[in-house]
């Protein structure tokens, strides 16, 4: 038996793919997370109130999702409900994260694959089709910076936010700062749409060239976003069966009864399944499980996706397009939210810390994120982090198998396999720092 090993780049964190081949047949595919920091272990003994500032350090890409989830977990344990203004500011913070993440995944991680270059910085002068010349790197960095600036506005610090506190937020957002951000988002919207149009076009061209990305088969889908329109500051999780029917609705405290969570010996990341079946989380799950986007331009894109691919849709390349739709949505929705005042109301409610157990949930860009803490004498006795990427582990390996079987032949291995491995993994936009925490 031969094992092919592929190092991975343009994803968050350290991981590699291994493909076992015997006599021209693919025996197995493994997606291995090769790092571990151990947050679930080393937060033991930490004062519970510090969690919202410690856990963003699990991941500098998904820090906002961890920050908000930590606060919600403590609020669940203490029995606190934040006032409406605090919830609005937290939602805005999560939109900033969505904007930043989807822009990064689209333009920095996956767009270079479409024109077969190593990085976005090689895309400005060297695009295959001269009619599509664009200053991709500058524009892409500008769009993703809007996300960072929205996080800074709503979250205080630019990478590891500090604004959400147990009971609410520590302050509102002054009107003059809101105005500046509004103006920049309005300028950024057409820029993001232009980039996404180019991305969609390049994606179609690559589809014409290579056909499928790797796995077009149905799976279970999981999300916590609202069934009518997107929402990221969420409270319950839904599972959709391969047939398209909703088959499960559960609260974060029930996750162990609903999902099977399993450690794997060849990776520092675990995996989940639903009734033994493969689950998919992230943008395609949301596109399949939300009626519409609730904003004009993003809705137009979603409509186009549904006309071209139906609903529910299953080809994994649609994860990438789904992210673009959400990028546009995040800008439009942030513009709507910034038009409402974000100060002048109660920012928080009083509370008394108490020992016990809490669960928190948000829809992170990669899917539902759950934190679970047990608090004893004011300190964390145990902590669990159920990471969206972990839901996708089996889906990634299944898609890798489909791709490998296509490019591994009895007498040779097609070198396209290396590119296919990158495309498959990046479609799921895994976050390894989070998955291993």
């Amino acid at each position: 038996m031969t094992t092919l090993t592929f190092p991975l780049s343009r994803i968050e964190g350290h991981a590699q793919v291994e493909i076992d081949i015997q006599r021209g047949k693919v025996v197995s595919t493994r997606f291995k997370a090769t790092e571990l920091r151990g947050f679930n272990v080393f937060v033991q003994g930490v004062p519970a109130e510090q969690m919202p500032v410690i856990v963003p350090r699990i991941c500098g890409v998904c820090s906002t999702a961890h920050h908000v989830t930590a606060v919600k977990t403590l609020e669940d344990a203490y029995g606190v409900t934040p006032p409406p203004l605090a919830s609005r500011i937290r939602s805005l913070l999560l939109l900033g994260q969505l904007l930043q993440n989807q822009a990064t995944s689209l333009f920095i991680f996956t767009m270079p694959d479409r024109v077969d270059v190593d990085s976005v910085f090689e895309m400005d002068e060297d695009v295959i089709d001269p009619t599509m010349r664009f200053e991709i790197s500058r524009h892409a960095l500008k769009v993703r910076e809007l996300g960072t600036d929205l996080i800074t506005l709503a979250g205080g610090q630019f990478i590891h936010p500090v604004r959400a506190v147990v009971g609410g937020v520590n302050a509102g957002i002054p009107a003059e700062r809101v105005q500046t951000m509004l103006q920049r988002l309005e300028e950024g919207l057409p820029l993001a749409c232009d980039l996404f149009d180019a991305y969609w076009e390049l994606t179609n061209r690559m589809k014409d060239r290579i056909g499928s990305w790797g796995d077009d088969q149905p799976a279970y889908y999981i999300t916590s976003t609202d069934r009518v329109r997107p929402d990221f500051n969420t409270h319950e999780i839904r599972v959709m069966a391969p047939s398209g029917e909703c088959c499960e609705i559960f609260s974060p405290r029930e996750f162990k009864d609903v999902l099977e969570l399993k450690e794997r010996e060849y990776s520092y990341a675990a995996e989940t399944s639903y009734k033994g079946g493969v689950i998919r989380a992230n943008s395609l799950a949301r596109a399949n499980m939300t009626a519409h986007m609730g904003t004009k331009v993003a809705n137009g894109y979603l409509h186009r996706l549904r006309i071209e691919y139906g609903t529910p849709a299953h080809p994994i390349m649609l994860f990438d397009l789904g992210r673009g739709i959400e990028l546009v949505y995040a800008i439009e929705r942030a513009i709507q939210m910034l038009q409402q005042p974000l100060e002048g109301e109660d920012t928080d409610v009083p509370y008394t810390p108490r020992d016990g157990e809490g669960y928190g949930l948000v829809e992170a860009p990669r899917g539902p994120l759950i934190h679970h803490y047990v608090i004893e004498r004011g300190k964390i006795a145990s902590a669990e982090f159920v990471i969206p990427t972990v839901h996708n582990m089996r889906a990634i390996e299944r898609a890798l198998k489909v791709a490998a079987e296509r490019y591994v032949h009895a007498d040779e291995v097609d070198l396209e396999l290396e590119r296919a491995v990158g495309r498959v993994v990046r479609a799921f936009d895994p976050c390894i720092a989070c998955a291993t925490h």
């Binding site: 780049s9 350290h14 571990l36």
Partner: protein
């Protein structure tokens, strides 16, 4: 020697840099992406987060983020520094372990040993280590993460970069003589007064002795400084005891918080974030890092 052609010569003028990410959160890389003025002035030759390149080539500047946690981290680190003219340790994890120091407590390390059951993954080292335990460093850029402005300074002209001495000087909140809290309030609370110094409001803010340069985003947003940039130049060549004493003096002057309460808040080994401040700038058995090497 043959004469270089002008085009080759022109590209040789652009400094090349690489980014090696060890065990960390990628927050430093995200911050670097926000500092995009470098796009026109530098050639980025290696940064797995954004580019498909699998080995560090010869570079002028190597930025290293993250701590040394696995044998693979150590391998990459030792290979990469040989290729670089100037090596910069970026972020708290690379410089002192940062939040990962929490995992170096003995009771936690025991739990880490369970990971030995796993197969074919990089082995964990007994402790997470800062990069200068293994390789020489030319410049330290502390922060969790460093701001885009600091990244640009580190790349362009670290010697002439001028920043305020402390976070306190950059914060702009008003210090009041007659507002002395009797006790510390919680670490993170709502309803923060937007104008008044956080110490006056009873927060354990250590911006008075934390290195400036970040422009105080946390304290301006109403969150106490947790010291992620480490000690200011006045304290950086002394041991962490001197830093603690300075903070205690500030609280003696500005508050009526009893000594015991303050000591417990500052010294509790469980006070995770404040490990940033114990970060071994004056190392366990190593000489302190020279302030000339810290940006």
């Amino acid at each position: 020697m043959t004469e270089e052609r002008p085009s080759t010569h022109a590209s040789a003028q652009i400094p090349r840099f690489a980014v090696l990410q060890l065990s960390g959160c990628a927050g430093c890389e995200v911050s670097l992406l926000n500092a995009h003025e470098w796009v026109d002035r530098f050639e980025l030759t290696y940064m797995p987060l954004v580019s498909s390149a699998y080995a560090v080539p010869e570079v002028d500047i190597l930025l290293i983020s993250g701590g040394v946690r696995t044998d693979e981290d150590l391998f990459h680190l030792k290979h990469a520094v040989k290729k670089a003219k100037r090596v910069v340790a970026v972020g708290t994890c690379a410089i002192s372990g940062g939040v990962a120091n929490l995992g170096n407590r003995d009771e936690v390390r025991q739990l880490f040993l369970h990971q030995e059951e796993r197969l074919h993954v990089p082995r964990l080292l007994p402790k997470s280590r800062p990069v200068d335990d293994f390789v020489p460093i030319d410049l330290y850029l502390p922060g969790c993460p460093p701001t885009p402005e600091l990244f640009m300074a580190a790349l362009l002209d670290p010697k002439n970069y001028q920043a305020s001495l402390t976070v306190c000087q950059e914060c702009g909140r008003k210090k009041l003589k007659d507002m002395k809290p009797d006790h510390l309030v919680g670490f993170q609370k709502g309803n923060v007064d937007p104008e008044i110094c956080l110490v006056n409001q009873g927060y354990l803010c250590i911006g008075t002795s934390t290195r400036g340069g970040c422009r105080a985003p946390c304290t301006r947003a109403g969150h106490p400084c947790v010291g992620c940039r480490g000690p200011s130049n006045a304290l950086i060549e002394k041991d962490s005891k001197a830093w603690l004493e300075t903070i205690q003096k500030v609280f003696h002057t500005m508050t009526n918080v009893p000594d015991d309460e303050l000591r417990e808040a500052l010294l509790s080994p469980q006070l995770a974030l404040f490990l940033f401040q114990f970060s071994d700038y004056a190392g366990e058995d190593k000489a302190p890092r020279s302030k000339d090497k810290v940006l």
